[in-house]
Amino acid sequence: MAAGNPILQIDNITLVFGGVTALNGISFDVAEGEICAVIGPNGAGKSSMLNVINGVYVPQEGRVVFKGQDCTRMRPRQIAQLGMARTFQNIGLFQGMTVLENILTGRCMKIRSTWLEQGLNIGRARREEVENRRAVEEVIEFLHLQGIRKTPVGKLPYGLQKRVELARALVAEPTMLLQDEPMTGMNLEEKKDMSCFALEINREYGTTIVLIEHDMSVVMDISDHVVVLDYGAKIGDGTPDEVKNNQDVIDAYLGVTH
């Protein structure tokens, strides 16, 4: 585990949907600057965990503390303002927009100008526009999206859509990035690219990353810290090596193919 204070503390979270207990008293810490993988079989509660962290769901019990602030009951926008960005399991892109427009929406929290200034393109609006374009171009270059700026995202292949979604999250310059299955459904080449991006983001910008991933080799390669969920309970928490040798984890994964 990379050294560093906990930037995110998950404290005894319980989340219930009707009769289904999606998360049952989950606690773990994420250290500043680390890559933390959350793994587990389908239906284990991984996505629910991410949704609790960024405020989509409010848990029945427990606390989420981000950068020392209790954000258990904050709304997603407030949490985004604290510096958290995310991607979704089922690609949360804005399908009616181009790649460029999608990435630009990632800058919406940096906007201070009023709609009147924007409509007339004067004052702060003009300065912000310049700054936003610069940030967007930097991310486009970083993720190699140069050729497709004007393409409607719906027309892109799956793997590229995931990359555009990552770009939209990055352009907000987050201190913490949540990724829900960024590599699922990708071919080997694309997976390799994606894991390289995660590592580069982590090293170059110091961004703390929490990601959900099924591919064990990827997880073992890139993460500093692994949390294992099964049926809403935490069954493993430690370095990749510790988790690999944990008997509960081995049992949970027996016969489960991904």
């Binding site: 926008r77 960005a85 979704f88 949360g92 804005f94 919406c108 906007i111 709609w115």
Partner: protein, 313 residues
Amino acid sequence: MGFDWVFFTELIVGGLMSGVMYSLVAIGFVLIYKSSGIFNFAQGTMLLFAALTFVKLTEGGVNFWVALPVSMGTMVVFGILVERFMMRPLANQSLLSLFMATVGLAILIEGLAQYMWDSAIHGLQLADFLDLALLDPVNMTIFVVDYIEWLDILISKFDVFATIVAGTMILILAVFFQKTRTGMSLRAVSDDHLAAMAVGIPLSRVWALVWAVTGIIALIAGLLWAERVSVSFTLVEAVLKALPVILIGGLTSIPGAIVGGLIIGVGEKLGEIYLGDLIGVQGIETWFSYFIALVFLLFRPSGLFGLKTIERV
């Protein structure tokens, strides 16, 4: 007997002008659908409520130029209240619940309108107001004569005025939602509201804004429409004119609403005259626009600019 080109042109122009009005009402639906994902059943009563507010103010002796902004302000407050007490609590509920909420909203507004105002029929001579307010001082007589001649055809002056107002509003809205970041936020919310929230788009503000703008559209459309049908509960039916427009243009597209409105406006006028004579049926205009929409959908099932089906996943 030669074809009466003058009359034909008159029909086309008249059709285009009613079409602009239909477009404006349809855009009210589109904005709500795009941002909130629901078909707003309360659109018609919003029209009525807004127009009634204005009429009652002016009947009470309030000056036109005061009554107009006050009515607009009322609709803005209305938008903020709808966001706070309807959209926010129901944010993660099913679309059916949201739709039912707009049905409830319609009933509430109607009751409120009856309670605050009354259910009598009010005449509204917007033309007179404008005549006095705008034109007397400079001694122009634009609205004194009801019709103008242009290319040998007769056009109602009020229709020209209504078209200009509605057209200008449509233009402002189109620019606003295409060119500003707020407009982009609206499109983002309409595409995927969970993702929009995660990105940090102020969902509440976008919703309140859209409902307020829709309220102002309802006011303007209501006033322009009331000139023809007076301010009473029949005003609610103005919305029936916008439904075929939506069928053609789709619920998600502002350009669709504009073009759809023009198609219905012109098609309706032509059908009324030429087809009505041909098949010898009177009163064709009440249903002919729906007929146009259905024929249209036979050839373009997803509508004019249909991007996606009417469902949010």
